[in-house]
Amino acid sequence: MAETEYDVCIVGSGAGGGMAAWALTRAGARVVMLEAGPAWYASRESTMLQPAHATPRRGRSTRTRPFGEHDACDGGWEIDGEPYTRAPGTQFDWWRARMLGGRTNHWGRISLRFGPRDFKPRSHDGLGDDWPISYADVAPYYDRVDDLIGIFGSVENRPNDPDSRFLPAPAPRAYELLVKKASDAMGIPCIPARLSILTKPLNGRPACHYCGHCNRGCSVKANFSSPDVLIAPALATGKLTLVTDAMAREVSTGANGLATGVHYVDTRTGEDRHVKARVVVLAASACETARLLLNSRSPAHPQGIANQGGVVGKYLTDTTGTDVAGFIPAMVDLPPGNEVGVGGGHVYMPWWGDNAKLGFPRGYHIEVWGGRGEPSYGFMGGIHRYPGGGGYGAKLKDDYRRYWGATIGFSGRGEMIPNADSFCELDPTVVDRWGIPVLRFHWKWSDHELNQVKHMQETFRALVASMGGQVFSDMPTKAQGYGIAPGGRIIHELGCVRMGTDPQTSALDANCRAHDCRNVFVADGGPFVSQADKNPTWTIMALAWRTADFITAARTRGEL
């Protein structure tokens, strides 16, 4: 029997793969999707409402669920049998999901559009590079993503933080209003958060019931995850064939250099398999896609696909991050009451500074957290840092009650500029358990990032102080990188298969198509030319939809 030939093979089922599958199947293409992990739908398997005391672990993390046993996402910085390596003296931690929906099962649903300046950073300050497309090219797709998936927020008309087509934002919690007050006094804008959680019913999905457990996956689909919101509808068209437990090895090419399909390993049997397709869309996550391209060597592509300029793996970035938490005496012994809200902050602070007057060129946004969360493993650890100083007995027991939730924390999430010392490449000798050569990472922060993170630390400490609070930790020193999280820890790897107009300095064209292979596309974070200080999911989906439309139009014209 002849091998089935699909119109499109998509590798990966997260934000980009799910979006591409949704758009391509609706346009009538016969699509096969390869996912390295098993099937998983929050609507069937989430432990959304289970209380902490229902399990002996009480929510503590496990090896494959580093964000807690109930976190929806199976994955982590270390996966058994799937190593990666680091150049001596450098640290980059690579987070990977291994399940249907990928990281859309994990993320905080913060859904920020990139702004006009984020697409043209070099024109603005001479650093990094401009994208070959502008905000106006992506805006219609942001609109469509808003309308299909749903996002709450507020219209603010800020120049580089474009508004979405928002559902109403939930009212801020009391302590978030305290933060607003402190922000006002410091001249920092504090506005409603922008999260892909439904505050009104949308497209057959109900509004949020405010259990606060978005990270566990939503049983009623009131927040966004790829399996329930994109893949299930794509499967319902009858056009999508989903192959789970399928670890992609390389893109196969014919004598003419065009892709013919994808080789993969069936991880349940260990057998090598191949799927034939006329078009290949890689959406395996930025670094995994770079690895696939580098491993796809053939006479027509001796350095791998999209790599004639040697840029696949280069220009890798992650978001900068640091956190500061403080004890807020005003919040001691508050009356009991429900302050759960959605599974995330109800306010945030978009970048407000004038970089021309600061010692760093790019900005960051601030995420706010605090108050009373479900008492779980780790509850109030380090009680001796509170004013009681520790103790034992009846007084201590009462201190726990009084101090519980009397904290506010800030997380900075900032833009990193691509640099020549931060990239990934194939390790020349190491393979994973499937025999696939693995990635080796190189990493270095520049002063652009370190000075920015210093500013975060100083700002967060000033915010805590202005609320009358005390910070739990000392200001980190320059030798400590001002508290910057190691590369990869914020899980926003972008840019190592970047788009551009010049095949010598970019891997993809302005439609996310390989310069040197006209039926290979990328639909994850790989094509990004800049990081921005915006969480990338919304832009990944807008670009994936745009790429899917380009493929559909080319197929209609008989070009693919």
Binding site: M48, L49, Q50, P51, H53, A54, R58, R63, P170, A171, P172, R173, A174, Y175, L177, K181, I188, P189, P201, G204, P206, H209, Y210, C211, S219, V220, A222, A330, L334, P335, P336, G337, N338, E339, V340, V342, W352, R372, E374, P375, S376, Y377, G378, F379, M380, G381, I383, H384, G389, G390, G391, Y392, G393, A394, L396, K397, D398, Y400, R401, W404
Partner: protein, 207 residues
């Protein structure tokens, strides 16, 4: 079809009722104080702690979180079993386990040095005399630093075991997930913090 919030909540209610919720850890084990309760529970076998360490921890845990007018003590909430479980799981490092094992030894050695008996055999006044030297790390004397570090570990884990239990949730008036509606924080909390939703009406001008 649009699923209404009411329908969703109904589904949620059904789902949570049908969910397989394992019995709370405290109820699944034979806490000696509850031994008289029927039906007779299976005897608990520690996965990490020795019998001697369990004896010490029962006394120490209730010194840390005693029964009071609002709730029972740490042992009654299953904190001993919680501590043992978490010391045994693979996520706890061998180095941490050594600090626990050695910490129990340190405590008994200190109890014998001062009062000639192990910690669990001391009178409350004697135990408190030792804890007074350990429980406030910022003012601990150099010779009690190691003992204090152990005590901090015990306090953190025992308190987490107590407050993450059903009893702890009730003690804290934690209302749980699935609230259904959200219109902002309750007014008494807003009043105490001196905030109102109108704070959101102002904006910092964009530069």
């Amino acid at each position: 079809m649009t699923v209404s919030r009411r329908t969703a909540l109904k589904v949620l209610g059904a789902a949570s009722a049908a969910a397989v919720v394992p019995p709370a850890l405290g109820a699944a084990v034979a806490a000696p104080d509850a031994a008289a309760a029927a039906p007779p529970p299976k005897p608990w076998k520690p996965a990490f702690l020795t019998a001697s360490e369990v004896r010490t921890l029962r006394v120490l845990a209730d010194d840390i979180i005693p029964r009071d007018g609002r709730s029972d003590s740490a042992t009654e909430a299953g904190a001993i079993e919680f501590v043992d479980f978490h010391l045994a799981v693979p996520e706890t490092t061998e180095a941490t386990r050594v600090q626990w094992r050695g910490g129990f030894r340190w405590l008994d050695a200190e109890a014998r040095r001062r009062f000639g008996r192990r910690y669990a055999a001391l009178a409350e006044r004697e135990r408190h005399a030792i804890l007074d030297d350990l429980a406030w790390p910022d003012r601990v004397k150099p010779e009690f630093r190691a003992g204090s570090a152990f005590f901090v570990r015990v306090r953190d884990l025992v308190a987490a075991g107590f407050f993450s239990s059903r009893m702890g949730h009730e003690d804290l008036r934690w209302q749980g997930a699935a609230q259904g509606e959200w219109h902002g924080s309750p007014q008494p909390i807003m009043d105490r913090l001196g905030v109102s939703l109108s704070l959101m009406d102002t904006r910092i001008p964009t530069k």
